[in-house]
Symmetry: C2
Subunit: 426 residues, 2 copies
C-alpha cells in the first residue's frame, strides 16, 4: 500500500464514498483474518463476503481495551522482525500496553498526519514548533513529526518544557505555528510578556476546544484572552492511529475515509442516530502490525454527516464529551468529568486540580474536587456556585498542597497528567 | 542525491577511495560556492578546479564555531521554504546556534546513521531502546531513530528518564540493545537488581569508551562491573551530521568516506602525522541546507589510517582526548579536563562533580574540582593522590551540596549537563 495525498476523496458523493470504504474494509478484514491470531476465530471469509454496506460491519465482534491489554501478543499480525517501532498506550489498569508498527504502518501514520495537517491549513510555508514530546514511546509526537515533514513544513522538535524554554526557541527560530495541548497554550500565552513572534495558529490535542454545539469552550476563551491564534482541534489515539481534524469551519474533526471506519454506538452496541452521543468505535484501515476491528475507544462523541460548509462531504466527529467508564450518577443525575472540568476552566486559580470519584457503602457515586491551598475561599465558593448551576448537583471540595496534587497527577509513573482519580473499580 | 547503502566503499584501495572523495569534495564545493552566502567570497571555481588530491583542501579557508554563530543566516544555502527541520547546537557563548536541514539532509542523516549502526553490528533483528531524547531540538535522537528504521530494527523511543522508567520499558518490550550515554549505562546497570533482559549491546555517545591506545577507559570498566555489554562508541556532532563508529575491533570510529572529509590539524592549522593528536576538522559532503567547509570542531583526537583488522580500509578516528578551548597549562604541564574526568571515574562516589578552570592575576590557569558533600574525606584524599599520579600536577578540591552542583550542571538552561566551568574567557 502506498500513501499519496489524494484529497478528492473528501468530496466524493456519499454512495461512492461508501462503496470505496466497503472495498477497503473488506480488504482490511481479509488481511486481519489471515494474519491476526486474535481475530482468526472471531469471523470467517463468509462473514467478510456478506458485507455490502458499511452497516454490515455491525455483525462483527467488537474489541475492547481490555482485549488489547489481556491478549496483547495475539494482536501481532506480522513477524517480530518486521516490527520497526513499539509505542505504548495507557491501558485500563494503568499498565501501558504496547502497540507494534510495521514500516508500512509508519508510512500510513505520516500520510494520516499529513492529511490532518492539510485539513488544518498547515502548509509547506509553515515552521512548526512541537511542544509535546517525541519520547516516552508516545505515538503522537512521531506522527506530527512525520506528517509535518511530509507536507514540507519545517519542524522544531522542542518537546515538553517550561514556557520560558519555548519562548527562547520561538525567539531564536521564529515559528509560524505550534502543536500543543490547549491548557499549555493558555500557560504559554500568559507568559509571553512582550516577545515578538509570528505565530498565527495552533493544532490542539489532548483536550477539546469546543462544546457539543461547536461553540468555543472555556479553555478556548481563556487562550483568546492571551493571544490571537487560529485554533484547530485534532482527535486521535494510539490504537486508532488516525486523526479527526477540524477545517476552517471548526464544526468537528473530518473523518479520513481511506483510513478509518467510524461507528458511534449506544450502551447496547447499536449505532445511534446522526448527531447523537455515543461511544466512538473505530476500524482503522490498512494497519499491518496490529490490525483492529471495531475497537471501542471508550470516548463519547457525536457524528455529524451533513456536508460541511468547507465543501467536504466526509462526516465530522464532534468534541469528546466524556469517557464511558467515567460516567457518574450523582444524586440521580448523569455527569462526566469533562463537564466538571469545563466549569473548572472558568476558575483559572483553581489549578492544578484533581477530580476524585468514589463509590459509597450504598453503591452510589460521590465526587470530590481537590483544589490547591493557594485557591482562596471566595474563589472556591464561587466555583461551587458555578458547578451547581451547570451540573445541577454539587460535588465536594477538598484542599491539598500543590506538591501533593502534582504527585497524584503523575501517579504510577504516568506519562500524562491524570486529572481524574476513579476509585470505583479500583 | 539518493542514499542507498553501499558498504563496498569501506573496502576500496586507498587511491580509488581518494579519487572518489576528491570527486565528491569538488561537487560539494561547487554547490557551496553557488549557494552559500557565507562562502561565496571565500573561494572561487578556479580554486575548486585546482584540487587533484585531498590535501589540496588545505588551501581553503577554515570555518570556526564562532563563524557559524556570528553569521548564522549567511550559511543558509536553500530557500527557507525548503527547510524541513531546525535543530540547535550549543554555541561558543552558551546561546544555541540553529542548523537548518533540507529533506535531502534528513535522508542523508538517516543514511549516515544506518551506515554507522551497521558498522556497530546492529541489524534488522534488533529491538533498540533509545535512552536519549528526541526533543530539545537535538539532531542526534532523530538520527538514531531514522537510522534504526532504515536498517529495519525496531525502535523504542523511550527518551531520557530514570533507571526505574527504563527498566519498566525493558521488562515490557524486551529490547536487545540500547543507545545511551556511557555514564547512564553505568547508572542503569547499578539499578538493574535482578531484572531479566536480553540486552547484549549498546551504542555509546557523548563520552569516550577508550583511552588513546584503545584500551577500555575507567567508565567502560565501571559499566562492565554491572553488566556484560558489547559497547561501541560513536562520535558525531550536529554541525558535521556524520558519525564515526567503532566496528568489532574497537580501534577507533570508522570514517564514512562518501559523507565526510576528515583533517587532523595542529595549532598552526597544518595536518599532523597519522596517529598524532590534533583538532578534528571536517568537511561534511553532500549537505544542502547549511554546507560547511573545513569546520573546526574544537575536539582533539588522532586519525589512524592503517587497515583495520575488520578488513575495512577506511581511516579510523580515535577517542576524543580533549577540547582545544579547554587546554589547561597547570604549573607548566598541559592537561585537558577529559584527563581529570578519567581519574574521577575511578571514584564513583565523587559524583556529581564539576571541574572549574580559572585564570589568576598572573594569567596562569588554576583548576578546582567541586565534589558533593556526600564524598568522604578518605575518598577525596584518595582522589587527590590519583590525580597527582596521573596528571603530575594537583588541582584544588572544593565541597558543595548536591543540589548546588546539579544547578550548575544545567546552568543557563543548558540541554546537556556541562561538567566543566571555564571562567578564563568569561
Amino acid at each position: 500500500m502506498r500513501f499519496t495525498l489524494d484529497k478528492n476523496i473528501d468530496y466524493l458523493p456519499a454512495d461512492e464514498l461508501e462503496n470505496l470504504q466497503v472495498d477497503l474494509l473488506k480488504k482490511h478484514l481479509r488481511y486481519t483474518l489471515a494474519n491476526s491470531p486474535f481475530y482468526k476465530d472471531k469471523f470467517s471469509e463468509k462473514d467478510i463476503a456478506s458485507i455490502s454496506k458499511l452497516s454490515d460491519l455491525s455483525k462483527f465482534t467488537k474489541t475492547s481495551k481490555k482485549d488489547l491489554a489481556d491478549c496483547n501478543s495475539d494482536f501481532l499480525s506480522i513477524s517480530k522482525r518486521d516490527v520497526v517501532e513499539y509505542v505504548t498506550t495507557s491501558g485500563t489498569t494503568g499498565k501501558p500496553v504496547s502497540i507494534a508498527l510495521s514500516k508500512n504502518d509508519l508510512d500510513r501514520l505520516a500520510y494520516n498526519e499529513a492529511r490532518s495537517l492539510e485539513i488544518a491549513d498547515f502548509t509547506a510555508d509553515d515552521t512548526v514548533q512541537i511542544t509535546t514530546t517525541l519520547d516516552k514511546c508516545f505515538m503522537a509526537g512521531m506522527a506530527y513529526y512525520l506528517g509535518l515533514t511530509k507536507i514540507g513544513a519545517a519542524v522544531i522538535r522542542a518537546g515538553q518544557g517550561t514556557p520560558e524554554f519555548h519562548w527562547e526557541m520561538i525567539k531564536q527560530i521564529n515559528p509560524t505555528a505550534l502543536i500543543a495541548v490547549p491548557s499549555f497554550l493558555q500557560k504559554l500565552g500568559a507568559n509571553s510578556s512582550s516577545i515578538q513572534h509570528q505565530i498565527t495558529k495552533a493544532l490542539c490535542i489532548g483536550e477539546p476546544l469546543r462544546n457539543a454545539d461547536f461553540s468555543d469552550n472555556q479553555l478556548t476563551k481563556n487562550i483568546a484572552e492571551h493571544w490571537h491564534l487560529d485554533l484547530r482541534s485534532t482527535y486521535a489515539s494510539t490504537e486508532m492511529a488516525t486523526a479527526f481534524t477540524e477545517c476552517q469551519e471548526k464544526q468537528g474533526g473530518h473523518l479520513l475515509p481511506e483510513l478509518i471506519i467510524l461507528e458511534i454506538l449506544d450502551v447496547n452496541g447499536n449505532e445511534v442516530a446522526d448527531g447523537e452521543l455515543g461511544e466512538v468505535t473505530v476500524t482503522p484501515l490498512g494497519i499491518e502490525a496490529m490490525p483492529l476491528v471495531r475497537f471501542q475507544t471508550g470516548d463519547l462523541a457525536r457524528k455529524h454527516s451533513k456536508t460541511c460548509a468547507c465543501g467536504r462531504i466526509t462526516p465530522r466527529l464532534g468534541p469528546i464529551e466524556g469517557r464511558l467508564a467515567q460516567m457518574i450518577k450523582l444524586k440521580g443525575t448523569t455527569i462526566y468529568p469533562t463537564q466538571i472540568e469545563e466549569v473548572l476552566h472558568l476558575h483559572p486559580t483553581a489549578s492544578p486540580y484533581l477530580i476524585e470519584i468514589d463509590q459509597d457503602e450504598n453503591g452510589l457515586d460521590s465526587v470530590s474536587i481537590i483544589l490547591p491551598e493557594t485557591c482562596t475561599e471566595a474563589e472556591s465558593n464561587s466555583l461551587l456556585i458555578d458547578l451547581q448551576a451547570k451540573l445541577r448537583v454539587k460535588p465536594n471540595l477538598k484542599i491539598s498542597s500543590i506538591s501533593a496534587i502534582q504527585k497524584l497527577l503523575f501517579r504510577g509513573n504516568s506519562r500524562k497528567p491524570k486529572k481524574i482519580i476513579d476509585n470505583r473499580n479500583a
